[in-house]
């Protein structure tokens, strides 16, 4: 068991490690600053409103300390506006994703990534810290800044997935990407801890710390990232003989396609595509970037995008609204609620990694997703009836995170990489960033619509109906990937029968 493992790892150089860590941490920092916003919602809401008193009691004095700011008359108005901000952010993020994927496949990934990180950091600084220092509160300024933030942040994800796809090939992709896609959850955890420790100085310092960190991350990425092995003359290693997880010759195939294995294929140093080269007939061309519509029409992109829209809705609603729900519903303090919401992300990390590993062993992704999503529906029911005990709540949160975060992480990373490197592309087109952009963009539109719906449902019907809404959405995502599940299960049965016949 040790030699295949070491062999598995031997193909990776320190460049691989640095690429993994840099992309991992740039997305961690991005998510940390996003999480900061959701964790300081209660404090921002308090800053924007005057003090609440019964109608009969006089207002508190001195007015500067208690009554002066009335951007919103009461906390309900502030909450609604915060929901609107979330929605605006996600919509502009979705639009930006469609564009950034296309841009990333055409321009230097390193420049786009650094630009996105540093630009977004500056906007966040202006949004949270500068407005507070200047005591300038304005609804339109906040909306405009957050739209800009969404557009800039959208540059990051397609680039990091593309860089990872360049460095890490087919074998063990599920596991490596599963581990790597923990970056979003790690970012949430980091953001939660940063916010809760700095929050006592004032919410503007939470924004300050995370935006400066993100800017520093952008600088480090600019100076240290190699976007692909080709830059230093390395080849993406071929997987001949170093596959501990797959036991038959079919493993050359991407896990998505149904095509037969080609005999006598040679692995060529072309960024991980499995193409056939007969001699030296064709001069190698630099791969062209794929068009948006072509990428959209690739097999598997549409069902996974729609499924991801539903799933990301649930995932992001937990992400954005959980601390708020915990402090409003159970009456816990904001800092406590922040720390508790970490458990959801812990579950997501473990879920993504383990499910990626399982899907690598099985050679199939969709069945793993389906089982996990079915169990997720049960977990949501369980969580909605959670008692006000912090330990039980944390355990249920972790379970829910495992079953929802796992598929979510897989679709957005490993499966996007699979889709972007299909046989159908035949090595002639760069599609990874574009496909990632499409999948995540559709997901973000779903999440954006969901944010608004969550705040509407909550104010009209209460939190229980919000959970029912989540369960319905999870069901919908299963429905969308049903055709793929059916295909893959049929393929599994065929293989098993074929193997049984051989014996």
């Amino acid at each position: 068991m040790s030699s295949p493992c070491c062999g598995f790892l031997a193909q990776y150089t320190h460049h691989h490690l640095v690429a993994f860590l840099l992309t991992f941490f740039s997305y961690v920092l991005l998510h940390a600053s996003r999480k900061t916003f959701s964790n300081v919602k209660v404090s921002i809401s308090a800053q924007w409103t005057p003090s609440v008193q019964n109608a009969s009691s006089p207002a508190f004095s001195p007015g500067e300390t208690w009554e002066e700011n009335n951007l919103f008359a009461d906390s309900d108005g502030a909450t609604l506006f915060l929901g609107v901000l979330d929605t605006i952010f996600l919509f502009s993020y979705a639009v930006g994703l469609y564009m950034s994927g296309v841009i990333g496949d055409r321009m230097n990934l390193r420049y786009v990534l650094s630009f996105g990180l540093c630009g977004s950091a500056i906007v966040e600084f202006v949004f949270g810290t500068l407005t507070e220092w200047l005591q300038f509160y304005n609804i339109y300024l906040y909306c405009g800044l957050w739209v800009l933030n969404g557009l800039l942040q959208s540059a990051v994800w397609p680039c990091v997935v593309a860089v990872m796809g360049n460095w890490f090939g087919k074998s063990g992709r599920g596991f490596v990407f599963g581990l790597w896609s923990a970056c979003a959850s790690v970012g949430n955890i980091l953001g939660a801890f940063l916010a809760s420790s700095v929050l006592k100085y004032g919410y503007e310092y939470a924004f300050l710390v995370t935006s400066v960190l993100q800017f520093a991350g952008g600088v480090v990425v600019f100076f240290g990232l190699l976007t692909s092995p080709k830059e230093v003359g390395l080849c993406l290693e071929s997987e001949t003989g170093l596959r501990p997880v797959e036991k038959d010759a079919d493993s050359h195939r991407p896990l998505m396609s149904d095509e037969e294995d080609e005999e006598g294929s040679e692995e060529v140093c072309d960024g991980g595509y499995y193409t056939i080269r007969q001699g030296d007939e064709e001069p190698r061309e630099t791969p062209k970037a794929i068009g948006f519509c072509q990428a959209f029409c690739l097999p598997g992109v549409l069902p996974y995008s729609l499924a991801y829209a539903c799933l990301k809705l649930v995932n992001y609603s937990f992400f954005f609204w959980l601390p708020f729900y915990l402090s409003r519903n159970f009456g816990w303090k904001e800092a406590q609620a922040d720390r508790l919401s970490v458990w959801y992300d812990v579950g997501g990390i473990i879920g993504g990694t383990i499910q990626g590993l399982i899907s690598d062993f099985m050679g199939k992704r969709a069945p793993v997703l389906a089982v996990s999503l079915l169990l997720a529906m049960g977990a949501l029911v369980g969580y909605s009836h959670s008692p006000p005990d912090q330990v039980v709540n944390a355990a249920l949160l972790a379970t829910t995170g495992f079953f929802i975060g796992g598929p979510s992480n897989m679709i957005s990373s490993a499966i996007s990489a699979d889709l972007g490197r299909q046989e159908a592309l035949r090595g002639s087109q760069e599609a990874l960033a574009t496909v990632t952009g499409i999948v995540d963009g559709t997901g973000s539109i779903g999440a954006a619509a969901g944010q608004y719906l969550v705040s509407v449902i909550e104010s009209k019907l209460g939190w229980m109906f919000v959970f029912y809404f989540f369960i319905v959405m999870t069901g919908c995502s299963i429905v969308f990937i049903l055709p793929l599940i059916v295909t893959e299960i049929r393929a599994m049965w065929r293989e098993r029968r074929a193997r049984a016949q051989e014996l």
């Binding site: 308090a46 003090s51 508190f60 004095s61 001195p62 500067e64 300390t65 240290g224």
Partner: protein, 232 residues
């Protein structure tokens, strides 16, 4: 003639002297002291209070000259009685007063927040048709003497238990702020809007460390990674 000119000289000298005195009073020319065109009489309660406290009379005010602060007068008494005032708008200049007399005036109604901030006020004399501001809970002794109402001994509304439950929000303490008023001031180390913020953020320390590590990591990574770039 000479007597007249010397008298004129004396008047001029006195005028200059008074101007100098008024000039040395600087900006503390309190408007409220000249609402009435008379000075505090020794026979009134306020006059007796003023002489007992060794204060100076200026118009309707009784002032105490403070030794340490230069030329800043400290108003301790105000006498606006029998002034034909139909309404009293703003007495904020007299917020340090310990005794105020506005009796014998045709005032119909007192502004609710008129005495907000009057933490030293221990003796208030009103026309009999008005009630003591803050009511029973704010004054130790309230009595009617003829056609004046006397409110004496301001009570600290924060210390009281009873139907008035004064809850200052988190991180703030109740402090008396005049008869019937209270102020919520931030507790030690808390500051800012709604007393939400605690302490001072160590900006220099945090960002010094951050900047240094960024520079170090960037250099390290550039040397190990990007320096070996072969193709564009």
């Amino acid at each position: 003639m000479t007597a007249g000119s010397s008298q004129r000289n004396a008047a001029v000298a006195l005028l200059i002297f008074h101007l100098y005195l008024y000039g040395s009073y600087q900006l503390t020319e309190l408007q409220v002291c000249h609402l009435c065109n008379r000075t505090v009489q020794n026979s009134t309660a306020l006059g007796q209070f003023c002489s007992a406290s060794a204060g100076l009379v200026d118009g309707c005010c009784c002032l105490l000259r403070k030794e340490n602060t230069s030329n800043a007068d400290y108003l301790i008494g105000l006498d606006l009685s029998n002034c034909s005032l139909s309404h009293v708008e703003d007495l904020q200049e007299a917020s340090t007063a310990a005794m105020i007399d506005i009796s014998l005036n045709p005032i119909v109604q007192l502004n609710n927040s008129l005495f907000q901030g009057f933490i030293q006020l221990d003796n208030l004399i009103l026309p009999v048709n008005l009630t003591c501001p803050g009511g029973n809970a704010s004054w130790n002794k309230m009595e009617v003497k003829g056609d004046t109402r006397h409110c004496e001994g301001q009570k600290d509304i924060c210390n009281q238990t009873g139907h008035l439950s004064l809850n200052c929000p988190e991180n703030s303490l109740c402090a008396a702020y005049g008869p019937g008023f209270f102020e919520c001031s931030c507790v030690d180390n808390f500051h800012g809007y709604k007393c939400l913020r605690e302490g001072k953020f160590p900006i220099i320390k945090v960002f010094g460390i951050l900047g240094a590590s960024t520079v170090l990591v960037s250099i390290l990574l550039w040397v190990t990674q990007r320096r070996k770039v072969t193709s564009a």
